[in-house]
């Protein structure tokens, strides 16, 4: 008996061969691009950047001066008066959120068994990530040190 598909006969294949195109035994996936490869590269690149950004953030905010006791509205106003710290915090926010998004995405993919559960969790994840990045970026760049008209900060009394 020869291997036939109903359309054509594959004269080159042996008796057990199945036609390549239409068989349901075909096990070659459609090409999906390199998304997972790039997400793997992204985790390593942003990981190194975040190490520098977050260690710097923790050192300046918690180790220098009075540490955590110095942190209040005036402290934030002092830092965000400089574009250097605005950009630092923005990069930390974006890389941190996207690195975290990708990590949690991997964990959701690993542990969810039902499609429904997986899509609900990933939906919440996308929502939380987009919301934090948009809100955080707006907060950094629309920050107003004199939001309180009776503020005694030096930038507001000048």
């Amino acid at each position: 008996m020869s291997a036939t598909t109903g359309e054509s006969t594959n004269y080159h294949a042996g008796p057990d061969a199945v036609a390549v195109k239409k068989s349901r035994y075909r096990r070659v996936a459609k090409p999906r691009g390199n998304f997972e490869l790039w997400s793997w590269v992204f985790m390593r690149a942003t990981g190194v950047l975040l190490l520098v950004l977050i260690f710097g953030h923790l050192f300046v905010n918690l180790m220098l001066g009075e540490g955590i006791h110095a942190i209040d509205f005036g402290f934030v106003a002092g830092k965000w008066a400089s574009p250097f710290w605005q950009v630092w915090d923005m990069l930390m926010l974006w890389f941190g959120m996207l690195h975290g998004f990708n990590g949690v995405r991997t964990i959701v993919n690993d542990y969810t068994e039902k499609d429904g559960t997986r899509w609900v969790l990933k939906g919440l994840l996308v929502l939380a990530t987009v919301f934090s990045i948009v809100l955080g970026t707006l907060v950094i760049f629309t920050f107003d040190p004199c939001i309180d008209p009776s503020s005694t900060l030096s930038v507001c009394t000048r």
């Binding site: 390593r44 990981g47 190194v48 975040l50 190490l51 977050i54 260690f55 923790l58 918690l62 180790m63 009075e66 540490g67 955590i68 006791h69 942190i71 209040d72 509205f73 005036g74 934030v76 926010l93 941190g96 959120m97 975290g100 998004f101 990590g103 949690v104 964990i107 939380a128 934090s132 809100l135 955080g136 707006l138 907060v139 629309t142 920050f143 107003d144 939001i147 309180d148 503020s151």
Partner: protein, 110 residues
């Protein structure tokens, strides 16, 4: 195996904290009082211990992340992964000990 588990747990913890930290910082857009009130909570000794825990999670996740990168990109990375785990442990103590002393002194001396 266990460093992989700890990497995942610390990663999820840090993601959740980052989300909360964006929300608490966003209060600077509401009013100075609202922000200062929440910052007072961060200065509470119990929360202060929690912060030390978060920084411990950051340091472990960062150093173990470097170890993962070395395993992936360094030709001898896989061979020395166990030794590198101990390097992570040593690096963790070297970085976390001074931080813990400084931060907990700040937290408990006011």
């Amino acid at each position: 195996m266990w460093s992989w588990v700890a990497h995942r747990i610390s990663g999820v913890l840090l993601f959740l904290f980052l989300f909360a930290h964006v929300l608490d910082t966003a209060l600077v857009r509401v009013s100075p009082d609202a922000y200062n009130q929440v910052m007072e909570a961060y200065k509470n000794p119990v929360v202060g211990l929690g912060e030390a825990g978060l920084v411990a999670a950051v340091i472990f996740h960062a150093l173990n992340g470097l170890r993962i990168i070395a395993v992936d990109f360094w030709s001898k990375g896989a061979k020395y992964q166990r030794q590198m785990f101990w390097a992570v442990v040593v690096g963790f103590v070297v970085l976390f000990a001074p931080f813990a002393v400084r931060h907990l002194t700040n937290v408990f001396s006011h």
